[in-house]
């Protein structure tokens, strides 16, 4: 599904990530683990197309751009209402507009924040913002989810709910590539753990 060949990324001349070759398979469930600054977020940003590699190639095969959802570590929440924050992830016009509101509300309900729909995004807590960011990403059908520590601001209940929603997506065939510091979470959600160290892929484990 996504092939990385001799990919290298530098920040101000310093190597941030170097991967000789790796393939993320369709429907795969991957956890990226490693200390801070080991290259997990850089890899996710490269896969999402936020960054371009300085060398090498990232080949995305059989995936439309809107089939890839990416949630950064610090997602931006717009100042307008929670509902509108989800609606912006949907096409603006056409026949789909009629069903957009219902889809957005359903996505919010799925993350148990439907009651916050009218609240301005700026007034939410960190955990609520993370739930909103997840709902916004999942409001469209996706084939690949790229998640950078998606539950870092969530409490235990919120984490379990988010994991349940992500597991459901995975069961429906959506691939997951997720950076996490929580080994338990990696075991619950992933089938493959990629271990990063100093910008290099240091190991791979299968569950």
């Amino acid at each position: 599904m996504i092939k990385l060949v001799q990919v290298e990324k530098y920040f101000r001349g310093r190597p941030a990530l170097s991967i000789a070759a790796y393939t993320f398979e369709r429907g795969g469930r991957y956890a990226l683990m490693g200390p801070n600054g080991s290259g997990k977020s850089t890899l996710l940003r490269l896969l999402a197309g936020v960054l371009r590699p300085d060398a090498g190639e990232i080949r995305v095969e059989g995936l439309a751009a809107d089939a890839i959802g990416y949630m950064p570590q610090f997602p931006y929440i717009f100042g307008f209402s929670v509902l509108k924050n989800v609606l912006i992830a949907l096409p603006a016009g056409g026949a789909e507009r009629r069903t957009a509101r219902a889809a957005a509300l359903q996505a919010l309900e799925r993350l148990e924040i439907g009651h916050l729909a009218a609240r301005p995004g700026g007034t939410l807590s960190g955990g609520e913002k993370q739930r909103l960011a997840l709902a916004r990403m999942l409001v469209r059908p996706r084939q690949l989810l790229l998640l950078d520590e998606p539950t870092s601001s969530l409490d235990r209940a919120g984490t379990l709910l988010a994991e349940q929603v992500l597991a459901e997506c995975a069961r429906q065939g959506c691939a997951l590539v997720m950076a996490s510091h929580d080994q338990g979470q990696a075991q619950r959600l992933a089938r493959t753990v990629l271990l990063f160290e100093s910008g290099r892929l240091a190991g791979e484990d299968q569950f």
Binding site: G49, M71, P72, P75, Y76, F78, I88, A89, R140
Partner: protein
């Protein structure tokens, strides 16, 4: 007290010159600020939000033009509009329209430069999030403009402040013609040159009070909008 008496005399003068000067000043300042910010804010947002070849050059160009000397802006517009200039046929020289054009030339880079720095501060996080949910192009730009709307208030104030206090360009292209293109700043220069310091000071105070009232009113309206 003398200055205050001078102001009252001017405001109540039978020929209404000061009232006309104030009206011309406000017409020129409001029109040029509105047009310049309508061009400069979207332009600055485009430069601040999107990555494109030559972006750094565009930012530097914008920053350089933010310090464009008013007399140079006036001179450029003068060459454009003078009888032998490319737009001479429209006979706009020594008119309020010419003054508005000169102010637009001065304020647009200020609006674009300030907007660029406002948007650039938020851009990386917004762009990354937008990429992740498939939001791009004009829709993304629109939401970014909405998101920064409060900071754009200060862009408007800065633009208006520049327009209402500017004298060099207005003098060159407007000509300070009585009952036509005379504005508060050019009137102050004229009265000073004629040695009428009391009158010049009175006009200066009128300018300050108008600027204060408009800025305070705009800030009040913006604060109301936020609540």
């Amino acid at each position: 007290m003398e200055t205050l008496k001078e102001i009252i005399d001017l405001l109540c003068g039978a020929d209404g010159e000061l009232r006309l000067i104030i009206a011309t000043t406000l017409r020129m300042s409001f029109t040029s600020t509105l047009i310049a910010t309508a061009i400069g804010i979207p332009l600055g947002a485009l430069i601040g939000l999107f990555a494109f070849p030559g972006k750094q050059l565009a930012v530097r160009f914008c920053n350089t033009l933010m310090g464009l000397p008013p007399v140079l802006a006036g001179l450029l517009i003068f060459f454009l509009l003078s009888r032998s200039g490319p737009l001479g046929q429209y006979k706009l020289i020594y008119s309020v329209t010419a003054m508005v054009l000169a102010q637009i030339l001065l304020i647009t880079p200020i609006a674009a430069g300030l907007t660029q720095s406002i948007v650039a501060a938020k851009a990386p996080q917004i762009r990354e999030t937008a990429r992740g949910i498939g939001l791009s192009g004009a829709r993304l730009l629109g939401y970014v403009l909405y998101e920064c709307r409060r900071q754009f208030g200060s862009v408007l104030f800065t633009g208006f402040g520049r327009a209402i206090s500017e004298v060099g360009a207005a003098q060159i292209v407007g000509g300070n013609i009585q009952f036509k293109t005379r504005i508060l700043t050019t009137a102050i220069v004229q009265e000073t040159n004629m040695g009428h310091f009391q009158k010049a000071l009175a006009l200066g105070l009128v300018l300050l009070v108008i600027s204060f009232i408009i800025t305070a009113l705009a800030q009040f309206l913006l604060a109301e909008q936020e609540t």
